[in-house]
Symmetry: C2
Subunit: 284 residues, 2 copies
């Protein structure tokens, strides 16, 4: 096992971007992809020095980053598990942590749960780009059995990539992403459907003609990748259902104010949202 060899499984947006940055930092990057074509293209794009579809490619790596979609992190193929050296540090990039950790805590002794947050929606081997993680959160979710040295390795790696390191427990992480990332997808999708399903042809035509930047912004995440939405919902179900419940109460509260013409209360409520929102805006 060589200290400066890092393996990346999956060279899409996250894996490819990590590969680009790590090479600049002097590491040797070994990329494992599931298709020959992707391995060739990833090498052409310089996402890793070495790429292959053969799991042996990661055999001598000291750190291995599983940059795979959530379903594959939760149900990893046996071939991948078998290929991971027992003394390497393993981390993932999954946006939901409880089920990933549940899967991996018995699969590898040096697994560390990670969620590097990134700001673009592109996907695939063409998506990776430099400095994707700079000034973005890299959340790690250690649990009791987490190897302290392994955690320290991932901490150093995240800092080297320019991330803001955050540690929290897996359940709290999943509640936070349910509120901040997952709930917005569903409330935004519901808005698109409301206009589409709640309008006759004349009204629909008019709404399309007059929809402005406010509608575009509010619906952006609801018009995103359906697979990603399903992955969120199926892997973070209870936290999302709780968030939807709280959300419905807030909608009900506003509706009562409007129905009962409580304009002073509504103004107070909207003053609160106006003053609260900036706390959630980071320079990211």
């Amino acid at each position: 096992m060589e200290f400066n060899r890092i393996g990346i499984v999956g060279l899409g947006l996250i894996g490819g971007s990590i590969g680009l940055d790590l090479q600049r930092l002097g590491y040797e990057v070994y990329g494992l992809t599931n298709r020959d074509q992707t391995a060739i293209r990833a090498k052409e794009r310089g996402l890793a020095q070495f790429t292959s579809t053969n799991p042996n490619i990661i055999a001598d790596c000291s750190i291995i980053i599983l940059a795979l979609p959530l379903p594959q992190l939760i149900n990893p193929p046996q071939e991948l598990i078998d290929a991971l050296p027992q003394n390497a540090v393993i981390t993932d990039v999954g946006s939901v942590k409880t089920p990933v950790i549940k899967a991996w805590q018995n699969l590898h002794p040096r697994f560390v749960g990670s969620h590097p947050m990134a700001g673009t929606i592109e996907q695939g081997v063409e998506a990776g780009r430099r400095d994707l993680f700079k000034n973005h959160p890299w959340i790690s979710t250690p649990y009791n059995a987490t190897d302290k040295d392994a955690l320290k390795s991932i901490n150093e790696l995240a800092i080297n990539l320019g991330s803001n390191w955050i540690t929290t427990d897996p359940e709290l992480h999943d509640q936070a992403v349910a509120l901040i990332s997952h709930l917005p997808v569903f409330i935004s999708a519901a808005l698109i459907q409301t206009v589409k399903n709640g309008s006759n042809n004349t009204l629909l035509k008019l709404t399309k003609a007059i929809a402005s930047s406010g509608f575009a912004d509010t619906t952006r995440v609801g018009g995103g990748n359906p697979q990603l939405g399903v992955a969120m919902a199926s892997s973070n179900t209870s936290a999302i259902l709780n968030a939807l419940n709280s959300y419905r109460s807030e909608i009900d509260k506003l509706e009562v104010m409007i129905k009962e013409n409580q304009w002073e209360q509504l103004k107070q409520e909207l003053k609160e949202t106006q003053s609260n929102r900036p706390d959630f805006l980071n320079q990211k």
Copy 2:
């Protein structure tokens, strides 16, 4: 009454921007403001050639644009009504049309309901800027008694400002803006409140640290001007309540899919929202 004299009542974002464009088109613009300081500043900024707080300033104008906030359009001050020449064409800029028309249909024989849509959130005498309406919708809502020649004058004016002219009836207009502009404000505000009210201190701190561009976009209109939100709700109440009702059904539909693990249906639903959203994105 001089044909090329146009009066603008209120020189905020909308009124000021119309003033700038009209002068470039060769019109003489007479601005009526409610404060001396605003009249002076509006003149300094060149929003109108002539400005005053004295309603007589608009006495010889052939077209008068009431660029006032919705509450003042719905309950116009008597002094303003008295100052409007009977043979001038009068239009407004209100974002809700039924109550404005209800107020004005008996107040002036040549009133035409208008809703020029603009894309910025700035306000006040510093906000006006050139070409604000270019390629944006200018919706007019004629009713049976609307003077055809008056409507034609406003049509020409809107076209001269580069707007996309749309006519529809007032009720349909109000339903469309309820769905496209007003509903987003309340569902977006409810999202901010859900995170704020549904989190203990530790969770709230984490959500603030990890909130990304998706959350920022989805909450933008919910963090806007409280007065504007109240004006929407109080002047377009029934259309907004209908929209909220439809919205709740869509939330319920998604919740059932998530609760019952109907991942295939959820994927279909999110595929629909993904493919429907681009219809509402215009080059504006």
